[in-house]
């Protein structure tokens, strides 16, 4: 079952400590661009940040986590997203981990993930307002199918796959497959977002471990969705910060361009997006940690708002950098790439708005 007990999270001091050490690590090791893919380096970095407590902050103590709330976890992911770190932190700890800790069968993999010993990602097909539309099938024992461009699958040890159960019509299950298992082929693809090197996943009779029905794992899926929202929020914050530095120093027509209203107003709009997303993410994290009945609507609000914030800030931020922003060596295009890439995962803003709308229309209908 997936009922996650209400969590008060780690103490405010512990959270502040974690964020402080994370900030220091990011200042020393984070980059303005994703580093070129290097399997060994990614493993090394993942082990290093695991030791800093990045991966298990929201996992229970019996799984070797810090026993924090999801609010602690997403606060960390939001901060991490302000730099490029060269390790699959979002896929492993933000997307796969909540699904692994939701059911005992995932616990072994969860412990290895928290320790930084294993990498993981998710291949969940298409998220819609009324449920997942998987790209694989499950016959009760093995997975079949092909899932395209799975982020961070290039070196993932485990993948949580959504599959349609062939025995029961229309039932979607989540199953855990090891990429080393027989029948699993991982084919790297050229991805627009270099921070999450993607691969196609071919599943031909691949033995997998059933985690549960997707319908029973709704809370865990919402945690993964909030991880994406927090990443988008952190990215949007970075775009605003970067843009303010630029428009506050770049001079044209004899003054800094931030003094032009046409520029200043776009910066103000970025701030509106960022603050809206911040309020929505914080609110959704509280709702999840409190086991609130409206957590799903709060999570969809957070995701739609953050996704739009990152899309707007990445696009506008690049634009306000002018020709500088359109060069490969500068940071803005990496955010535009990541923003587009994330938008295709676990629902678009429209899909999330639809889930909110449908739930309102169902209430008392």
């Amino acid at each position: 079952m997936t009922t996650t007990p209400a969590s008060a999270g780690v103490s405010a001091e512990d959270r502040a400590d974690l964020l402080r050490t994370t900030r220091a690590w990011l200042a020393a090791h984070g980059g303005a661009a994703p580093p070129a893919f290097d399997r060994g380096q990614r493993r090394g970095t993942l082990a290093e940040v695991a030791a800093l407590g990045w991966l298990g902050v929201g996992a229970a103590e019996e799984l070797d986590g810090a026993g924090g709330g999801w609010g602690d976890h997403v606060a960390l992911l939001q901060l991490v997203a302000t730099r490029f770190v060269g390790a699959p932190v979002l896929s492993t700890a933000g997307l796969a981990l909540p699904l692994l800790v939701a059911t005992e069968r995932g616990y072994d993999a969860a412990r290895r993930v928290v320790a930084g010993e294993a990498t993981a990602t998710v291949a969940l097909g298409t998220w819609t307002a009324t449920g997942l539309r998987p790209e694989a099938t499950w016959d009760g024992r093995v997975l079949e199918g092909r899932v395209l461009a799975v982020p961070d699958a290039i070196d993932a040890d485990h993948v949580v796959v959504a599959a349609r159960a062939t025995s029961t019509a229309d039932e979607v299950v989540l199953a855990l497959v090891a990429t080393a298992a027989e029948g699993v082929t991982v084919t790297p693809v050229s991805a627009i977002d270099h921070s999450a090197p993607a691969a196609d996943l071919d599943l031909a009779g691949a033995e997998a471990l059933l985690l549960g029905r997707a319908a029973d794992l709704g809370d865990a899926l919402d945690r993964a969705i909030l991880s994406l929202a927090a990443t988008e929020l952190g990215g949007a914050e970075r775009c605003l910060e970067l843009t303010l530095e630029h428009v506050g120093t770049r001079e044209q027509f004899g003054k800094v361009i931030g003094a032009f209203q046409a520029v200043a107003h776009q910066c103000a709009e970025m701030l509106v997006h960022v603050e809206s997303a911040r309020a929505a993410v914080e609110s959704a994290a509280h709702a999840l940690d409190a086991g609130s009945p409206d957590a799903a609507a709060a999570v969809s609000t957070a995701r739609a708002t953050s996704q739009r914030a990152y899309a707007f800030c990445a696009d506008t931020g690049l634009h306000l950098h002018g020709g500088i922003g359109f060069t490969w060596e500068h940071e803005p295009h990496w955010h535009l790439r990541r923003s587009w890439s994330l938008r295709s995962l676990l629902g678009s803003a429209e899909d999330h708005y639809e889930r909110i709308g449908l739930s309102i229309l169902e209430e008392g209908a």
């Binding site: 307002a129 303010l244 428009v247 506050g248 003054k255 800094v256 931030g258 003094a259 032009f260 209203q261 200043a264 107003h265 910066c267 103000a268 709009e269 701030l271 509106v272 603050e275 809206s276 911040r278 309020a279 929505a280 914080e282 609110s283 509280h286 709702a287 409190a290 609130s292 609507a297 709060a298 969809s300 609000t301 739609a304 708002t305 429209e350 899909d351 999330h352 708005y353 639809e354 889930r355 909110i356 709308g357 449908l358 309102i360 229309l361 209908a365």
Partner: protein, 381 residues
């Protein structure tokens, strides 16, 4: 998500909630969250103002008026947080608050903070008891967004001033007994330095008030012509020449006026249920999401108030988020209406009213200037 409160604060909120549950439903105004600058006959407007005053009186008699106002002025003597908690509970109902919103939200805190002892003793208890309606005489034909450019002149004359000028877009002036006036007492200095805030008795024969019809067809606005009205030292609010500071402190109260209920999720839900259409659920969800965002921002404002902190940058963003959502709501409603989108009804009135929200209380552009300069630290253009 809810706010962590002390037992005393929670007790206050629970008492307010219980009292409102007993009394607010009788004052229900079904369309109050959907009505923007309503088109009313003078008689209907009078009734609306009276309903506001009766509701205010009822709160007063129950000890829920002037929650943050000192007890010696007839208030409850509690803090900003309790005041906001009460407003939040109150906004769960559809109440006749609009006609007194300037009096309660802008004039009252200004008099409490800047008023002379005579002004405070005379007006604050009367305002709290719903006996006095005020209006705000700020905007002028030549001073809208650029308020400090106002040219209404108060010329020294004996022991007082003689006021001449014109004010405009003044809500509920015909129902008001007093005006909170900004006038220029010094023409020579910098434009922000020569302004003084006054109390103006609107029964002065030198004051002429004419209704000003709005785009919605309503006329809650007015033009106020002042042609030789006399004000004295006793009418000065704050110090002579310090009116700009007084006015800014008044306008700061708008940050707390934020009410997520202005985003009409319930009414829109009912409309979508009546007239289902593909794609409508997602757009209803977009409006509901904005409502959640504004509520979350409001909660951050409340936590700041609880902790004695100034509101953060998100407060500046909320008005823009809310008006965007109101526009999406109007667009969706008009699409769902079909042929009725061409007739006068509450949704078409709403659609015509929404653009007014992007202008009043700081235009979108002024809000963005404020964010750019005060929050982001960008230079003035």
């Amino acid at each position: 998500m809810s706010l962590q409160l002390t037992p005393e604060q929670a007790g206050f909120r629970d008492a307010a909630r219980a009292w409102l549950a007993d009394h607010a439903p009788a004052y229900d105004e079904p369309d109050s969250h959907l009505t923007i600058f309503p088109a009313l006959t003078p008689d209907e407007e009078r009734k609306k103002v009276e309903a506001s005053q009766r509701w205010q009186r009822l709160k007063h008699d129950a000890g829920f008026a002037g929650i943050a106002v000192p007890a010696e002025l007839g208030g409850r003597g509690l803090g900003l947080l309790e005041n906001l908690l009460f407003n939040d509970e109150e906004s769960a109902y559809r109440l006749p608050l609009d006609a007194l919103s300037v009096t309660m939200g802008m004039v009252l805190p200004t008099l409490v903070r800047w008023g002379t002892p005579e002004q405070r003793d005379r007006h604050v208890p009367a305002i709290l008891a719903g006996q006095e309606v005020w209006c705000q005489l700020f905007s002028e034909p030549g001073a809208g967004s650029d308020l400090a450019a106002l040219s209404t002149a108060a010329v020294a004359d004996g022991d007082g001033w003689v006021v001449r000028g014109q004010k405009v877009w003044t809500s509920y002036a015909r129902d008001a007994r007093y005006g909170y006036l900004l006038a220029r007492t010094d023409r020579d200095g910098p434009k922000h330095a020569g302004i003084t805030a006054f109390r103006l008795d609107l029964t002065d024969p030198a004051v002429t008030i004419r209704p000003l019809r709005q785009a919605t067809g309503g006329a809650t606005f007015n033009e106020v012509f002042i042609d030789g009205a006399r004000v004295g030292a006793a009418d000065v609010i704050g110090e002579v020449g310090d009116g700009w500071r007084v006015a800014i402190s008044t306008l700061m109260n708008e940050r707390y006026a934020l009410d997520p209920k202005v985003i009409p999720v319930e009414a829109l839900t009912a409309l979508v249920r009546e007239r289902p259409r593909p794609g409508a659920a997602a757009r209803l969800g977009e409006v509901a999401a904005a409502h959640r965002v504004v509520s979350a921002i409001k909660l951050r404002l409340l936590s700041a108030a609880r902790d004695g902190l100034e509101p953060g940058p998100e407060g500046s963003a909320a008005k823009l988020v809310a008006t965007d959502a109101q526009q999406v709501a109007a667009d969706l409603a008009m699409e769902l209406l079909g042929p009725e989108a061409r007739t006068d009804n509450r949704w078409t009135a709403y659609a015509i009213g929404v653009p007014g929200l992007r202008i009043g209380g700081g235009t979108d552009e002024i809000m963005k200037n404020v964010i750019a300069q005060r929050v982001l630290g960008l230079p003035r253009s």
